[in-house]
């Protein structure tokens, strides 16, 4: 098992493409997107009542090598500052398949 980083981003669906472009640019080995999640945050008080309109959020999950984090953090911070959303990083171990990430 190899040690990797786990990035979680939650933001308005409209920002999704912008966020994925950042991940692609950082050449992460992959990512997973869960669409139509709802929530409450500092800015998105409109989702207060958890109405599931076109204004729902997307949840992006990406496991990648520690070295990528700095670049991703730097590029993602201004996007979140401007359009809202949150990003968290934690630790994980990858179960090695043939091609591993770590």
């Amino acid at each position: 098992m190899e040690s990797v980083k786990r990035i979680e981003i939650i933001a308005n669906s409209q920002e999704l493409n912008r966020l994925l472009r950042i991940l692609d640019k950082a050449k992460v080995p992959g990512y997973t997107v869960i669409r139509n999640v709802v929530g409450r945050g500092q800015r998105s008080t409109t989702d207060d009542d958890l109405v599931d309109t076109s204004t729902s959020n997307a949840y992006v999950l990406c496991f990648c090598q520690e070295e990528k984090i700095a670049q991703i953090e730097e590029e993602i911070r201004p996007v979140l500052n401007r359009f809202g959303g949150v990003c968290f990083v934690s630790e994980a171990m990858q179960i090695n398949a043939l091609k591993c990430i770590g």
């Binding site: 308005n12 409209q14 139509n36 998105s44 008080t45 409109t46 207060d48 009542d49 109405v51 599931d52 309109t53 076109s54 204004t55 729902s56 401007r82 359009f83 809202g84």
Partner: protein, 324 residues
């Protein structure tokens, strides 16, 4: 005022189901129309109304009257966001004023469709070109709103500059404009023949789908009402008075260029309605400084119900007075 009009509007299944949806929220029933079913209804309605408009447009052709109506539509879509912007600046900051102004300069397709079915029941006809006016009034306010921000914003940051291509994208190619215009063009191209094969679908189900969709709109609008606590009286007043004023301007213009009564009602409704999907989506991206709960709630929790319940029959009443 002609009380009968209000009653015959309210005693309509779609309007009653709108009330039922609101009631469900007030009494805390767990009734919901889960996503993406409302999307299915709205895709259907845009498709059906666009297609019908296209088929009828090919019959009527592009007369001088039609061109005048379309120019009037674009005119109103540009003027409303400008004048409301300056009104809104009295109480609100630049960004929120621009976003709300854009919202009220644009239109709500469901309000238009509800007015159309109201006319149909009263046997008042209207032209297929009104659908073209609907399509053309959705986008300009987005552009105008952004120009206002650009002109009034203190220091221009590069980010906003960069967004222009995305803005035009959002304004003219957002899914509702795209599907509406696309269906209209396909209606034009296939004409009578296409109509025949599609009408059991586009006509037969229309009223039922509208009814279901308004049930959902009732749920959504009522859920937004509690947001109004934070919006303040100024915005609530704005959300009721401005639609009436805009409808009045629309009716005046309609009289001026000699629209029929049916066309005049639809035009008034377009002027009076506010966007709660396309414009908010565009504003979220381009004026993220504005607070979505202000512009969405005003349009959705106040203006939309007001137009559906009181506005439509009221505007028709006024039109009947002046056209008589």
């Amino acid at each position: 005022m002609d009380f009968n009009l209000i009653v015959s509007n309210i005693l309509n299944p779609p309007v009653l189901f709108f009330f039922l949806g609101m009631l469900a929220v007030f009494v805390k029933s767990d009734l919901e129309i889960p996503s993406p079913l409302p999307k299915l209804f709205s895709l259907y309605l845009l498709f059906a109304i666009g297609f019908k408009g296209g088929v009828e447009l090919i019959k009527s052709g592009l007369s001088r009257e039609v061109i005048l109506i379309i120019l009037a539509a674009i005119f109103m879509a540009c003027v409303v966001p400008i004048y409301t912007f300056f009104l809104l600046r009295i109480k609100l900051d630049l960004y929120n004023a621009a976003a709300i102004a854009a919202t009220y300069g644009s239109i709500s397709a469901v309000t238009f469709i509800t007015a159309g079915s109201f006319l149909q029941q009263l046997d008042i006809s209207y032209g297929g070109y009104m659908v073209a006016a609907l399509a053309l009034m959705e986008s300009p306010a987005i552009i105008v709103g952004l120009i206002l921000v650009k002109l009034a914003a203190p220091s221009e940051d590069g980010d906003r500059e960069f967004a222009w291509s995305e803005v035009l994208q959002e304004a003219f190619l957002n899914s509702s404009v795209f599907l509406l215009v696309g269906s209209l063009v396909i209606g034009l191209l296939t004409g009578e023949h296409g109509w025949e094969v599609l009408s059991p679908f586009t006509q037969g189900l229309f009223y039922g789908v509208l009814t279901f969709f308004l049930l959902d709109m009732g749920l959504v609008a009522a859920k937004r009402i509690k947001d109004l606590k934070t919006t303040g009286f100024f915005l609530i007043g704005f959300a009721i008075i401005i639609p009436v004023v805009n409808a009045g301007l629309g009716i005046g213009l309609a009289k001026l260029i000699g629209m029929s009564q049916g066309d005049a009602l639809l035009f008034a409704v377009l002027c009076a309605s506010a966007s709660y999907i396309a414009v908010p989506a565009a504003m979220r991206m381009t004026v993220p400084e504005a607070n979505p709960s202000l512009y969405v709630s005003a349009a959705l929790a106040v203006t939309f119900p007001f137009n559906i319940i009181v506005g439509i029959p009221l505007y028709l009443y006024v039109i009947n007075l002046f056209w008589a």
